[in-house]
Every structure is written in C-alpha cells, then in structure tokens.
Amino acid sequence: MTTAIAYEHVQMAYGQKVIIPDFNLEIAKGEFVTVIGSSGCGKTTILKMVNGLVLPTAGRVLVEGQDIKQLDLINLRRNIGYAIQGSVLFPHMTVEENIAYVPTLLNGADHERTLRAVSKWMQIVGLDEEIRQRYPDELSGGQQQRVGIARALAASPDILLMDEPFGAVDALTRGQLQEELRRIYQQTGITVLFVTHDIHEALKLGTRVLVMDQGQVLQYGTPDEIVHRPAAAFVRQLVGKDDR
C-alpha cells in the first residue's frame, strides 16, 4: 500500500505561539481518515497543509511522495477536492456553474466534457437534474451540501479534503449525507481527510480515526481500536462519554 499523504516533523507556529510542535503521520492511499479533537487542536491546520493553504514553519508535507513546497500549488489544489464548513457555494453561480468550477479552470475550452462531468457528479451525489440552473439560495440545506460535495469531486481528484462539511445541517439530513459520502468513497476509492468534532461521525465514516490534542497525535487507528483500546485519557473520555 502506498502513501497518499505524509507529515514529517511538521511544526506550525504563529509568532511565539506554537500550535503544532512536531507532527508526524502517514496516511495510506484509499483511507478515509476522520480527524477529531477539541477546537483549536490544530486539526483544520493539518487539513489545510495538504493543499498548501497553510504552509508549515518547519518540516515537510508530502503528497503522493512529493514535498508540496516543490510543487506548483495551483496545480496541486486543482487535483485535490476541497469542501469546507457549510459547503460555501458561490452565490452568484448556478448549481451547474458551481460544480463546473474546477473543471472549467482545468479545461476551460472543452465545455461539453465539463457539462458531462457535472451530470455525472450530480447523479452520484443524488441531485435532481432540474435544479441545475438554480442558485444556491434557492436550494435546501441538504441540497447545498450535496452540491458542495459534487463541486469538490467534479475534477475527479485523488484526495478529498473536508472540513466539517455537514456542520450546518439537521441531524436527519446529516445522516443521509454521511451515507452518500460513504457510498461515494466506496465507489471511487479516493483518499479522504475529514475533519469533524462529532465522535459519532468520526467513528461511523472513518476507516482510520485520528485523535488530536494540542497539535499532537494522541491515537491513529481503526474505529475499533479507538473504541476498545483507547491510547490516552483524552481518547477514553471522548469515547467514554459516548458510552454513558
């Protein structure tokens, strides 16, 4: 099994304040990694280091074996799906234009191909063709999240980064979206890095769960290992609360 993402002695500091002292992790290709931890533990920072939105003050981040400092960030980002909190669709673009955003950046001229990709991804995320020309504020919360996922996947990336994508929807819709996401993951075999603060979600979706605290890895293991063999008091507390 090859490595999709690797962190080597990554350090992140804002002035005097060290957020991440020394972070090391290897994520194998095809894993669905859920990242959980209290807020401010550095989980979003870890995520943004993969597509170079945040650059580490020291250490290396490798994507598919290559140091991202040596890569063209624009190109790298176009090959990594990115969906953030509340999905953040572009309000002045239709559903179609939103989903087509990255494909258009990539192959602006081949409009036909882009439209086919939009149809394909709308179908995969379970969106009705008839909302194609609607604007984001004419969609329900669930539909918006689906468009967000479709937009992140539209260029068929190898890696998908998601930062609490379902944070703003109701429990029922969230459940459905989680099912869809799992199905898509199984269909595509993509590597997913998924930040959440909900332990249910982390255990339900992840093939691996990464528990973080104060910028450090507390435990990296399967959901089963996390639940049955918690490696630290924080992990025990996180899962333990769940048992009560």
């Binding site: 953030i84 309000p91 950046l105 604007y135």
Partner: protein, 526 residues
Amino acid sequence: MLQSILALLAERHEFFLNLLWQHLEISFVAIAIAIVFGGLAGILISEYQRAAKPTLAVINFLYTIPSISMLGFLIPFSGIGNATAIIALTIYALLPMVRSTHTGISNVEPALLEAAVGMGSTRLQVLRRIKLPLAMPVIMSGIRSMATMTIALAGIASFIGAGGLGIAIYRGITTNNAALTMTGSLLIAVLALVVDVLLGLAERCVGRHPRKAGANSSNPKPCWCRYALPVILALVLLGAGGSYFWRTPKPVTLHLATKPMTEQFILGEMLRVLIIQETGLPVQVTPGVGGGTANIEIGMEKGVFDLYPEYTGTGWNAVLKNKGLYTESLFNQMQAEYKEKLGLEWVGMYGFNNTFGMVVQKDIAQRYNLKTYSDLAKVAPQLTFGAEYDFFERKDGYQALCDAYNLKFKGTVDLDIGLKYQALNEKKIDVMNIFTTDGQLAAADAVVLVDDKNFYPSYKCGTVVRREILQQQPKLAAALHKLDDKITDSAMAEMNYQVETNKKEPKAVAHDFLRQAGLLKGEVQP
C-alpha cells in the same frame, strides 16, 4: 415661469440640443475615464490592502477641494476649455468609483475566497470569477451615484470656457435672464435623472440574480441581461471617446471668446456674423468665459482662442501689467507691446468707450450731497461697496481707486456683473462701480459721481487677435475693420438695455444693429 421655459425650449431647441450634446460629451468622457481608472485603482488597492489607506486619503483630500478652486488650479496647466473641465470632473468622479470598488471587493466573504483559492484558482481567476461578480452590485451603485454627480457638476464647466448646459445657466445669470438659467438647470436635472434610470436598469441586471426562489428555473437570466453592462459600458466608452476624437480635427475654425457680460455677448455675435460673411470661415464662439480677461488671456496665449473683444485700458494695465494711467495717446506703444510680448494685435476699434464709473444710491447722494468721488471719501466709512469679482483683484481696480481718493468703505461685497444693479436696487450695497455703457444704468435709482481727479483711464473697445491667425487668414483684418467707429457709447448702452431689461436675445440685438448700420449682406448665417 414654466411657460417661458417651454417657449424658450421651442424657440431655441437647436441651441439647447447642442449644449445638451456637449454636456453629455464632457460628462461621459469624465465618467468613462473614472470608471476605467477608478475601477483599476479600486481593484489594485483591494489586492494590495496596504496601499488602500494612503490612496483613499489622497483621493479624499482631492474630493474636498471646492470645485471652483479646482478649476482655478487646473487652468495654468491645461488651459481654458473642455480638457480642464474633464480633468476636474474625473478627479471628483474618482473617489466614489475607487471607494465603491474597494468596498465591494473587500466585503466579499473570506470563506468564499478561501474556497476559491483552495480549489486551485489563480489570483486573477479569484478576482475575475469571484471577487468582481460579487462586488458588482456595490460597484454599480457607486457608478450610478458617480454618474449623476458628474452630470450635475459638469454644469460649472462653462465657468472655464467649456461647453455644456452650464453655458445656459451662466449666460442666464450674466444677462439677468431667469428663464434661461432655469431651462439650463432643468435640462441638467432631466439628463441626470435619465442616466440614473438607465444605470438603474443595468444595475438590476448585474444583481446576483433577478429571479425569486421557486420561479421557473429553466433560464436564469434573460440573455440580454448578461451582456447589458458590458454593452452599455462599451457604448459609453465608444460614444464618448469616439465623438471626442472624431470631433477634434476640423477645418480651420476661428475660436472667438467673450467675457461674461451682456455687451460682449452682443459684440461676439456681431463679430461672428461679420467674419462668416466676409471670410467664409467657420467661427466657434465661447461666450462668457468665467473670470473674464484673466482666463481668456491664458486661452489666447495657448491658442485655444483666436480673438476676443477687449478694452484698451484693461489691455494696458491688466494684460501688459503696465503701471500708470492709460490714455489713448499710448495706443501705439501698447500695440507694439502686444505684438512683441504676446503675439497679439489690436484690429479695429468699435468707437465706444466703456470706462468705469461709480454710482451711489440716490437717497444717500441727496442726504450727504454727494457729487464727486472726493465727496464720497468723507462718508465712505458708513457705506458698503459692491463690484464684480475681478474688480477687487485687478491692478487698476478697487485698491487703486481707494488709494487715489483715500476711500475707506465699511465693507465690500463680491457680486456677479449681472446681479449688481439688483443688489443696488435692493439696497444690499450703497455704492458700486459701473461701466459707462451699462444698460441698467438708465433704469437704476442711482446717481453717477464725477471722477474729479481723473482716476479712470480710457477703455475703448476693440478686437484683439492672435497674429498667427491674421497671417493665415488675410481677409480677417478687413472683416474686423468693418466695425470701426460704428458703435457710440449711447448705442452700446441702448443695446445692453434691450437685452437686460427688454429681454431681447443678444443675437437678435446684434443682428438689428448690423442691419441698421448697413453691414449685413443678405441673411444672417446661423
């Protein structure tokens, strides 16, 4: 009032259409330049936020300069005429444009920008595909208010010899013709409103999306809407730019300027008619250049104007800046200095002498038994003196007069030439300077005082022409000499009276005079 405005519009629609077109031209060129450069500046300071504060501070400062002084500052650099007006208008239009662009772009939600960057957009793509479309509603409303403001402000452009509806306003004020002023103002207001409505339509089109939720979703915007803004912008740019450059190269046109006073409007028309009749050359008249001599003189030296009616005494003291009293025996010396120092020449003297005088309200004159300027000196500390703006500034004006007679007035009031008699009749001022050909002098309730120390010089009126033009156009001099000694003091005063009190058009009065003097051959050329 409405009736007289409508009558005026019907009677002189060509005149007003021409002014309207000039007004559009000046304001649209300024608006187009401001949209392009203000927009670019707004984008740049949004991309490089550190530059935003100093840039906005500088533009803010420019914005606070009163428009009159802005025009004044610009005259030495860009001269009299449309260029200066456009520069000034552009400077005022920049602030709303830069600010709305900057505000619009800065207010785009950061999360959207992060999403766009995270998905691999280049800086230019983020700007073009996310920032600008989302900022467009704010930018459009900025353009809208900027355009209306510019059109309104363009009304003062005629103050420095530019065209536009301000000419109607300014001429209305100087010839005491309220209907003319009202019509000019009204047309500016209408023009501003129409442009505002058109831009409002464009604004609706660039709004995020005009459709309400749940409406038929097959077609998001009527397709013309997508192209409306670029098309309107392109048309404005093309129309403004095109007409501006396309209109500049013309056959040799004589540019005739006049000072902002009734007499000069009449003389300007006489000269225009005679030149066209005798030489066949087209003549473009810039009537009533604000500030009078000082500003026309700059235009003459820069070649913006070719000829204008001037007074000998003014030429000697204010233009040549010679000290001492001018008498007509100095004419040859003055002519030589004009040719040598200024490249200008006096060609043809009309005959009348429009010199200064001073009047006092009749009851004040009777109360103190005032007959001469020397009598006035004794009671001056109780009286207020009024004069037009440049009388207080010129070397042969107010200060010299006060020094000669040891006058010390209680206060002074700056008045427009056209409003002076009104101010005297309403007793806002007690004493004022006059010209010996003032039409309203006959009707005024005032006593003309005697210049007992011969303070005032001679002010015979004639045409000053650029020598270059005289050499290029050999027939011109003969045309100008047609008016030699044709107009007496009383004839001039009478013509002024016809315009100012009997409300005749300066043009009509000029034509009547030429006809009676037998100078007109056939019909008057428009």
